[in-house]
């Protein structure tokens, strides 16, 4: 079975550098290991499982996890009045802890905004429309920290997005994106994260590519980064044209990948290599 899957990948990459690159089998992770039990839901598991013990340790301890530098800053911003309306996040929402569970259902279609939106979009709407304050950049420290703070309130709760009703067409679009071959190497997301999780690609041990830990601190980035930044990275690695953070394409993709992660706990802010 594995041989068949690998064969398919080699055909996909034939003629390109990656033909020799090497997708090869690694020792399967032991899903019964109690240390990772929290990060396994049925046949799904998060990238925590394929992380090294050192990286896991950074995530396990909120002190050692550098993401909390951004989260702490966001906590201070939560109470800070900003913008022409003279409001802070707290003026309307009260304690941030009240947002417990909120992020588990995003992205979702919100009638009032007549679109599928992510947590970051909603924060952007609150900033610009309700506070009349400057927009935060998607990949800027304030937005990353605030998104992490909001999602942290749901840490441990299962991802629970809906793919019915008005979300449905976006789910379909995201699914199509996921299975669409693209770029110079002609890979789809599924070639790596559905057909080859548990295998190595070059020096990387592939996971299911689950989105439940974003924004996450990546050692490679040396900072907190958004889910859409990771999507861009995965697109670029196969020499496909990346989309913009917050674009309709990546928002639909976020819905599809979040649906794949249904039942896995929110892990924000995760730490990965």
């Amino acid at each position: 079975m594995v041989a068949f899957k690998l064969g398919a990948l080699f055909v996909a990459a034939a003629g390109f550098v990656m033909a020799n690159a090497a997708v090869y089998a690694a020792d399967a992770p032991n899903l019964n290991d109690p240390k990772i039990a929290k990060y396994v839901a049925g046949d799904k598991w998060s990238g925590y499982v394929t992380s090294t013990p050192e990286t896991r340790k950074m995530q396990d301890d909120d002190f050692e996890n550098p993401s909390f530098v951004w989260v702490d800053q966001a906590r201070a911003l939560w109470d800070k009045v900003d913008g022409k309306a003279g409001k802070s996040c707290a003026s309307c929402h009260g304690e941030v802890e009240k947002l417990k569970g909120a992020s588990t259902t995003y992205p979702k279609f919100v009638d009032k905004h007549n679109d599928l939106i992510t947590v970051e979009h909603q924060i952007g709407i609150c900033r610009t429309k309700y506070m009349e304050a400057d927009a935060w950049k998607w990949e800027g420290d304030q937005m990353l920290g605030m998104s992490a703070l909001v999602r942290l309130q749901s840490r441990g709760m299962p991802v629970n997005v809906s793919i019915d009703g008005k979300n449905k067409p976006f789910y379909e679009k995201g699914r199509e994106f996921y299975y669409q071959r693209r770029g110079h190497f002609d890979f789809s997301c599924a070639h790596c994260h559905v057909d080859n999780y548990g295998n190595m690609i070059r020096s990387e041990l592939l996971s299911h590519g689950m989105p439940n830990g974003f924004p996450q601190y990546r050692l490679k980035w040396q900072k907190l980064g958004s889910m859409h930044r990771r999507f861009r990275g995965c697109n670029k690695n196969t020499r496909a044209e990346p989309y913009k953070q917050g674009s309709p394409e990546y928002t639909a993709l976020e819905l599809y990948t979040m649906w794949r992660a249904s039942g896995l706990p929110v892990e924000t802010p995760a730490v990965r290599k």
């Binding site: 002190f63 050692e64 550098p66 909390f68 530098v69 702490d72 800053q73 050692l219 040396q222 900072k223």
Partner: protein, 107 residues
């Protein structure tokens, strides 16, 4: 320099060995990266020294070099001798110093 995160127990027994954890947010610019737009080297700016001073006495210090990761994290231990102050100092290239203090009660 940005904010430091420090974890020290508020009290300890005399003679006890306790753990100290520190994490300083700093991008530790190595001096080897280029500005993508201009192609110019970005000047090196790292924390080059860390010190922990317990009631006036240096109990731990470390010299940092350019391959230390951003947001350097340190954990080390210390023996509780007397109540007082622990001072933490991070020195950056160019000489800027950030310092923080924590109190500890020793009984």
């Amino acid at each position: 320099m940005a904010k430091a995160r420090i974890k020290v127990p508020s009290s300890a027994k005399k003679g006890e060995i306790f753990e100290i954890k520190t994490l300083m947010s700093h991008n530790m610019e190595t001096g080897r990266r280029k500005d993508k737009k201009t192609g110019e080297l970005i000047p090196r700016k790292i924390i080059n020294k860390f010190e922990c001073v317990y009631n006036g006495k240096t109990v731990f210090s470390a010299d940092f070099h350019p391959s230390i990761s951003a947001n350097p994290y340190l954990a080390f231990s210390c023996r509780a001798t007397e109540s007082g102050k622990l001072e933490f100092r991070w020195t950056e290239d160019g000489g800027a110093v950030t310092s923080e203090t924590k109190e500890i009660q020793v009984s």
